[in-house]
């Protein structure tokens, strides 16, 4: 009996272990890495401007910071909705198990939040000082608190601010990388699951995070400018798209490398992975994630790199590519998180997952959680202007 037949014969009875019928990590755990990914990618754009002095990104630099902050505020929501005993969530901080990959989340999240808030406050200090002087009462108090009660806008003070910002952003890059690479490791560290258990997982998560975050910034910038009937800065979009192209080539290459490795190495239970990708995930992986949402944007990104388009057309294609890539990363998260759990540890069969509409981890909850960051962003925009004054 050859290897292929052996795998097929293992799956002949589609036997799922009795406790494997339930998919315990459902849509909230799809959403959690998706949100942290958006944060990471948006932060990369800000870092390119504030640390690496890529001037063309100036129009979206401040917005990227706020975008990252708004989504970071909501990163814990899916986790809290997922926990069986959410009221005990602080146990992870108070009595963490140092051996657990998951126990580090609270600390990494707290550091990320601290660094990001600090960057935002220093970047916006001149604006906040000016707004504080124009306001009174409670708002004045708020502005004083946000500016650390310093209204010194002298060139010397601003130079110090710039140094602090560069330091914080420099610190923020590894923190952001750890935040999301770590999320990948939570999956990569599960040796019982053959699709998750790969050292490539943190790398794949990190690059796809950059893809989703940069796509989100490009799309949000174009949409907001179009709604406000304001001109879109093509130079800025071009830089974003070039960065996006680089990260997406890396992300897609590693995603395919993982599949190729399983197929070529024929490691333990590879028949389960092959059966999964060609069976329950045939549509969501090969059709949607690979063909529609990866190959298509790769072709479009290639065209954008080698063909000169009119600005308006370039912007339209940029918006389209970004939308597809946002979907690609979401589907990729879905295929990893949900798909990985469809394989029973019996190595003989697959379970099914049917998302519910209502309920704590239902589709409605997903929609609500994805709306909340935009509400936060809107509120933040009232205090921290998105765009730099001309």
């Amino acid at each position: 009996m050859n290897q292929v037949d052996y795998g097929a014969s293992m799956l002949i009875s589609n036997y799922v272990l009795p406790n494997d019928i339930h998919v315990h990590w459902s849509m909230m755990i799809v959403l959690y890495p998706y949100i942290t990914g958006l944060v990471d990618g948006a932060f990369i754009i800000a870092a390119l401007y504030y640390l690496f002095d890529i001037k063309s990104l100036k129009p979206v630099a401040r917005f990227s910071l706020l975008f990252a902050l708004a989504f970071l505020c909501c990163a814990t929501l899916p986790l809290l909705l997922h926990l069986g005993r959410a009221e005990r969530n602080l146990n992870m901080l108070i009595t963490p198990n140092p051996a657990s990959a998951m126990a580090g989340f609270g600390y990494i999240y707290a550091v990320s939040m601290g660094v990001l808030i600090s960057i935002v406050l220093f970047v916006y200090r001149p604006d906040l000082v000016k707004s504080g002087k124009r306001s009174s009462g409670l708002m004045r108090m708020l502005y004083r608190a946000l500016t650390f009660d310093s209204d010194d806008l002298s060139e010397k003070a601003l130079a110090i601010d710039r140094k602090i910002i560069r330091f914080l952003v420099g610190l923020g890059i590894p923190v952001a990388a750890v935040l999301h690479g770590y999320v990948g490791f939570i999956f990569g560290g599960v040796k019982a699951n053959p699709t998750w258990s790969t050292p490539l997982m943190p790398v794949i998560f990190l690059f796809s995070a950059c893809v989703s975050g940069i796509s989100a910034i490009v799309l949000a910038y174009i949409v907001i400018q179009k709604i406000g009937r304001l001109p879109v800065d093509t130079a800025c979009i071009t830089t974003c798209i070039k960065t996006l192209t680089g990260f997406f080539i890396l992300a897609f290459s590693f995603e395919m490398l993982e599949v190729f490795s399983h197929s070529y190495l024929k490691s333990g239970y590879h028949h389960m992975v092959e059966g999964l990708l060609n069976g329950p995930l045939a549509s969501s992986f090969w059709l949607w994630q690979v063909k529609i949402c990866s190959v298509t944007p790769l072709i479009l990104l290639g065209c954008m790199a080698f063909i000169t388009f009119k600005d308006s057309l370039y912007t339209a294609i940029a918006g389209t590519v970004s939308s597809i890539l946002l979907l690609q990363v979401f589907i990729m998260r879905w295929n990893v998180v949900i798909g990985g759990q469809l394989m029973s540890k019996s190595a003989r069969g697959y379970t099914e997952f049917h998302p519910e509409w209502l309920g704590r981890e239902g589709i409605l909850s997903v929609v609500l959680i994805m709306v909340i960051p935009f509400i936060i962003l809107f509120v933040l925009g009232k205090i921290f202007p998105f765009w730099a004054e001309k």
């Binding site: 009795p18 315990h24 657990s100 599960v190 759990q341 019996s346």
Partner: protein, 275 residues
């Protein structure tokens, strides 16, 4: 060779009488409670009439650092009656659709294809042949599954709050008062013995009946197994069957050895097809 007539010396009336007597006697067991129900475990007491099943536990201080136990499943003895699953469900009021232990049925046909199932975790016993496949069975066997009590458990490693832990005497347990219900341990367990209890919303698993063992009683599933397919014992007791098997020359295997989890659950007569 002469074939002996059966039954040799029994007329039909006598045979029916004997069968009826057997049925009546057997049904009396249904009226009287099983051994495990006689114990008031909540109060930490054991009635005097319950004999000690694991020698060396009662009447002395339990030295948790110097105790070691093992569980052996003899596949060749399992008849798939499901009594172990029933005892377990009654012992812990396990919610329907979730299983601390279960029994799998393997059917092998003449083309060496393996068909596995475990309807309702084997709780109802395998009383009928499979009617969803139409193959000629060359061989069939049953495989009880339960917690492997790994010495290198991935579940305790990943628990973010230390709610699941390994005791000094080798038991992997869950503190439901601490569990946050993140289900990471469920993902990490290679044997899928864990589940999220829909009532308590915390993780639950087989404990080898640790509460009974500490009182010198066998795990509920071992106690009710009619064929001795499930065996449990202390490795400090040289006279116990488990000790003798483990130290003897017989072949024992563990599940998913390549995972490096070092289970304390061993299988006798293990088949190549079992994962």
């Amino acid at each position: 060779m002469k074939i002996v007539d059966f039954p040799p010396d029994m007329d039909r009336r006598e045979f029916v009488k004997k069968v009826l007597n057997g049925v009546i006697t057997g049904s009396l067991f249904l009226l009287f409670p099983m051994g495990s129900e006689g114990i008031n475990l909540q109060e930490g007491l054991w009635p005097g009439e319950l004999t000690e099943e694991i020698p060396g536990i009662r009447g002395r201080k339990y030295d948790i650092h110097n105790q070691q136990f093992a569980f052996i499943v003899d596949i060749t003895r399992c008849i798939g009656c499901g009594a172990c699953c029933v005892a377990d469900k009654r012992e812990y009021q396990v919610p329907d659709g979730f299983y601390r232990t279960w029994v799998e049925r393997y059917i092998k046909d003449f083309d060496d294809q393996i068909y596995v199932d475990s309807p309702n975790g084997g709780l109802d016993g395998y009383q009928k042949p499979r009617d969803d496949i139409s193959v000629e069975a060359r061989d069939t066997f049953f495989v009880p599954k339960l917690c492997n009590m790994c010495k290198e458990p991935p579940c305790t490693q990943v628990c973010p709050v230390g709610a699941t832990f390994i005791t000094p005497d080798g038991f992997v347990l869950v503190d439901s008062e601490r569990c946050v219900g993140c289900a990471y341990c469920i993902q990490a367990c290679p044997y899928s013995v864990r589940f999220l209890n829909p009532v308590t919303r915390t993780v639950e698993k087989c404990t080898w009946c640790y509460h009974r063992i500490r009182r010198g009683l066998l795990p509920a599933c071992v106690e009710v197994c009619p064929t001795g397919a499930r065996k449990f014992g202390s490795l400090n007791d040289e006279n116990c069957e488990v000790y003798k098997i483990l130290k003897g020359p017989g072949v024992l295997t563990v599940l998913k050895q390549s995972m490096g989890t070092l289970p304390a659950l061993y299988y006798m007569g293990q088949r190549l097809e079992v994962v």
